[in-house]
Amino acid sequence: MASLITCPHCGVRPKEEFAIRGDASLIRPAPTASDEAWHDYVYVRANPRGRTLEHWHHVAGCRRFLVVERDTVTHEVYSAVDGVVAAREAQR
């Protein structure tokens, strides 16, 4: 487990200050999408080996949601950005 996360607001912090809130790469289906699409979005998760995008909540720090890109094999952390920034980037 990646043990040090560089929060864009708080600096380098141990993982104990965070709560992992799951896959950040999922895209919410349209309200009229099929039951299968919604079932997959709500329940079905991959267990990836390698690079993953996750929501990390800095519970004991700034209380912001971050999007953290890390490697589940090497424990390397590639980036940690504020959720608002990540959402803005994704819209572009």
Binding site: H9, C10, R13, C62, R63, R64
Partner: protein
């Protein structure tokens, strides 16, 4: 049944009674401290920070983007709320935390070594500058840590966690003969 309402300090049971000698490393607990949280409206973070910084009596403690704990040494809780209302107006949400938080002041030559047992941030004077502040985990308790002097740190904690944090700090400080008392 009629009960009298007693407004007691969260650490009253721990610190009441015979005064003990103050050692080199000391934990001082303010009896009544005016504290408020300020959360700026989205987009107005810089304006609110400017307004708050313009008043030297107020000490700002950084919590997150656009959010601060404001500590006043001179105001009563009601006075602080009135002052913040005038400074921020509708630009920020202000909530009185004077009874909701407890402020502890840790000072002494070994203050950093005491804190280092429970805190995951770099406390070196070069890394944690004078006047700096941040939310951080101390043991298992979320606190706001601020450096207010050369070897002085202020910890702000939720009232219901104050006793646990106090016990933790006294354990962390036992090796350095840490003493504790109310400030007045």
């Amino acid at each position: 049944m009629v009960r009298d309402y007693n407004n007691r300090h969260a650490l009253d049971q721990k610190l009441r009674g015979t005064p003990k000698p103050v050692n080199a490393d000391h934990l001082e607990v303010g009896h009544w401290q005016a504290i408020a949280t300020v959360l700026a409206q989205v987009g107005l973070e810089a304006a609110v920070q400017r307004a708050l910084s313009s008043t030297p009596e107020l000490s700002l403690r950084y919590c997150g983007p656009g959010e601060w704990l404001v500590v006043s040494e001179v105001d009563t809780p009601i006075g602080l709320m009135r002052r913040l209302d005038m400074l921020c107006g509708t630009q920020a949400h202000v909530v009185d935390q004077s009874d909701g938080r407890v402020l502890m002041r840790l000072s002494g030559p070994c203050a950093r070594r005491v804190l280092a047992k429970g805190v995951g941030v770099d406390l070196h004077p070069g890394a944690f500058a004078l006047g700096g502040s941040t939310n951080v985990l101390c043991g298992h308790i979320a606190i706001n840590l601020a450096r207010t002097g050369e070897d002085i740190f202020e910890l702000i904690v939720s009232r219901s966690f104050a006793e646990s944090l106090f016990d933790d700090l006294m354990t962390m400080g036992r090796a350095f003969d840490l003493s504790a008392a109310f400030s007045d």
